[in-house]
């Protein structure tokens, strides 16, 4: 079923069609999927991955350290209209300590916390928490 040419890297599509189909079928309104449509979706997804990665790298700060970071991606989701559909799953991150300070401030001021403090510290990525704690 997968469109593979024999011999390693020069395949027509690398993502497994079977897996793509599983994801597509998880959509309740979808009844059936023609083989061409399945192939195109897989191929489009590959193009999408390439585009998201290169765009984020190009426009992000990670490249100062020769890296592609999470914050490059979430920055893209926020700033670029084409990728805005990803904003919910790529929320901006803040340091846990900053988040706690925000909570304290909210308590003191009795106001809803503002979104000012959105520093993205790459070294401390493993300490960061999702700002969007509700999900």
């Amino acid at each position: 079923m997968a469109a593979r040419l024999s011999g390693g890297e020069n395949r027509l599509v690398s993502l497994p069609l079977s897996r793509i189909r599983v994801i597509m079928k998880s959509s309740p309104e979808v009844s059936s999927i023609n083989q061409d449509a399945l192939f195109l979706t897989a191929k489009a997804t590959e193009l999408f991955v390439q585009y998201l990665a290169t765009y984020s790298y190009k426009h992000g700060r990670g490249k100062e350290k020769n890296a592609l970071t999470y914050s490059d991606l979430s920055h893209t989701a926020e700033e670029c209209e084409t990728f805005q559909f990803l904003a919910d799953i790529l929320p901006k991150k803040i340091l846990a300590s900053k988040y706690l300070k925000m909570l304290e401030k909210e308590k003191r001021d009795g106001e809803v916390g503002e979104d000012d403090e959105e520093d993205e510290e790459e070294e401390d990525e493993d300490e960061a928490v999702d700002e969007d704690v509700g999900s």
Binding site: D36, L47, V49, Y70
Partner: protein, 143 residues
């Protein structure tokens, strides 16, 4: 959206390879970035499917076809994908035709008609649509 998270993920190794091939040599990709892109890819599939399905429903069809997916790309503002997708599709169709012919020859030799019947119904739909699409889609693709 996601029922069982494991099922809706794409294989890490493949995602990583696609990313690495797209970026300049030697660029590091954090594990978090990689996992985020993988999730984004799954969301993309869902979004594209939903969008393509709208086009199918407009056309009063229950089966998503190639045209629906291409229309979805335009709708989603991924116009840039349409030309390369059309090119790849032509190669894919030729491949599939070749495979089908090889299978048919094999079947004739083995004399097993059951194989034809048990093939996925999508391939039958596919045949009809291949003929339709080929009539519609005869434009050259520019690079």
């Amino acid at each position: 959206m996601a029922e069982r998270p494991e099922d809706l993920n794409l294989p890490n190794a493949v995602i990583t390879r696609i990313i690495k091939e797209a970026l300049p040599d030697g660029v590091n990709i954090s594990k978090e970035a990689r996992s985020a892109i993988s999730r984004a890819a799954s969301v993309f599939v869902l979004y594209a499917t939903s969008c393509a399905n709208n086009f199918a429903m407009k056309g009063k069809r229950k089966t998503l076809n190639a045209g629906d997916v291409l229309s979805a790309m335009e709708e989603m503002e991924f116009q840039r994908f349409v030309a390369p997708l059309k090119e790849s599709l032509e190669v894919y169709r030729r491949e599939q035709k070749g495979k089908k012919e090889a299978r048919k020859d094999k079947d004739k030799k083995a004399d097993s008609e059951e194989q034809d019947k048990s093939r996925e119904e999508e391939n039958d739909d596919d045949d009809e649509r291949m003929e339709e699409e080929e009539q519609n889609d005869e434009e050259e693709v520019d690079n």
